[in-house]
Amino acid sequence: MLEAQNLAARRGFAELFKDVGFRVKSGGALVVTGPNGTGKTTLLRMLAGLSAPAAGEIRWNGRRIEPFSAELRAVVAYAGHLPALKDELTAEENLVSLVELSGTSAPRADIDRALDSVALSHRRSLPSRVLSAGQRRRIGLARLLVSRRPLWILDEPVTALDAAGAALLARLVHDHLDRGGIVVAATHQSLGLEPSRVQSLVLGETVPA
């Protein structure tokens, strides 16, 4: 279970948001929306443990977590704006490298299956530098698939994906929730999830009454 209480974020002197709170249970998703510059990415980076909130606290399974804490690093998979791919490596090498970095022992079969599911098998030996933006995104999806982390933090995951890619993403998220995972996503496109599973958080209009 992922909880947040009274979170606040600042950039310089500007307050991005404050008094943000939510509770996402296992098998649930939180979709964060809001105009540009209202702190969606900042909130996601806080939840991933990459930056410290200006106020408030984040709890994972009831325990308060600090930025970069070992407990959080063991459960979180963060897919930010940057693809974390190396131009010098092939699609497959990039995937294997990222999966190993996440501490998961990945059998060949899992890697093959993941590349297959994101429709990159026929491009696996190409250097990442020649892949399109959408294909690079797909490597990120394959990584989520193989590293099997309970908590997915996805920042604009649909960007650069085609219709088939978006459908694939929706299915991955759906399966992940089915397995008891949690997804926090900042996106304006629909992920096609059942409304009962999704909470929505709109930033930029949390002016306290």
Binding site: S51, F68, Y78, K86, E100, S102, P107, R171, R179
Partner: protein, 241 residues
């Protein structure tokens, strides 16, 4: 596209971080692989080292005594500059493409991953300098004993350059004009290494023996290897926040 089937392994279990060595190994292996793929860049850095060292005899004098006096200093200063030239690559590319975020979120200790990166940096930039130095030293009429001590000093000193440099490289992440700032930040810290390293060769030439200087370099290495990965890891976290 078929539905991704969950693997037979237990799904969604937190990953235990199994030890420091696995983290060091991951970073070392990956950075060596990347360095090998872009080996032209490493070649450029080595060539820079060779050319800087070669320029001094051309610009000053072919006179034997003078050259053998200034040889160790020139070789050491060039080693410092070569190390500095390669430092921005240590973290900046990973920072720019988002890999550094994933590294900081890995279950492996960030200190271990940083250590692996530093080790790879030394193996690809420091070690070649150590191996080339005795050959380049011949241009300066250095004798066998001086060349041996020079190489020994570089062998202990260049890892310190990589270790201290990593702190500077991490501190200047994301700054505009970080390269120039990095030089200002790090070169003063390199001064003791330079003094003891070049001093070791001078001491041998004066008949004093290099033990004192080399011991101090060894002590510096021991200190740096213990402290620098922690400082660099802390700086990386700050850069990401």
């Amino acid at each position: 596209m078929s539905a991704p089937a969950p693997s037979t392994a237990t799904a969604l279990a937190p990953v235990p971080s199994d030890g420091v060595l696995a983290g060091v190994r991951w970073a070392l292996a990956r950075d060596l692989k990347l360095a090998f793929r872009s080996r032209a860049e490493l070649g450029v850095q080595l060539l820079f080292y060779v050319i800087v060292v070669t320029l001094f005899p051309l610009a000053t004098t072919p006179e034997r005594n003078l050259l053998s006096t200034m040889g160790p200093g020139v070789l050491w200063v060039a080693a410092l500059l070569a190390s500095l030239l390669s430092l921005p690559r240590l973290f900046a590319t990973d920072h720019a493409d988002g890999t550094l975020e994933q590294i900081a979120l890995s279950p492996y200790a960030l200190e271990a991953l940083v250590s692996g990166k530093i080790a790879a940096h030394w193996l690809t930039t420091g070690l070649p300098v150590v191996l080339l130095a005795p050959m380049l030293g011949l241009q300066y009429y250095m004798d066998g004993e001086s060349l041996t001590v020079l190489a020994a000093g570089l062998l202990m000193g260049t890892p310190i350059l990589s270790l201290l440099g990593a702190i500077g490289a991490a501190l200047t992440l994301g700054l505009k004009g970080g390269g120039g700032l990095l030089a200002l930040l790090i070169l003063p810290l390199y001064v003791p290494v330079l003094i003891f390293g070049a001093g070791a060769v001078d001491a041998v030439r004066a008949g004093l023996g290099a033990t004192a200087n080399l011991s101090l370099l060894g002590a510096g290495f021991a200190l740096a290897v213990v402290g620098a990965p922690f400082a660099a890891a802390a700086a990386v976290r700050i850069a990401l926040d």
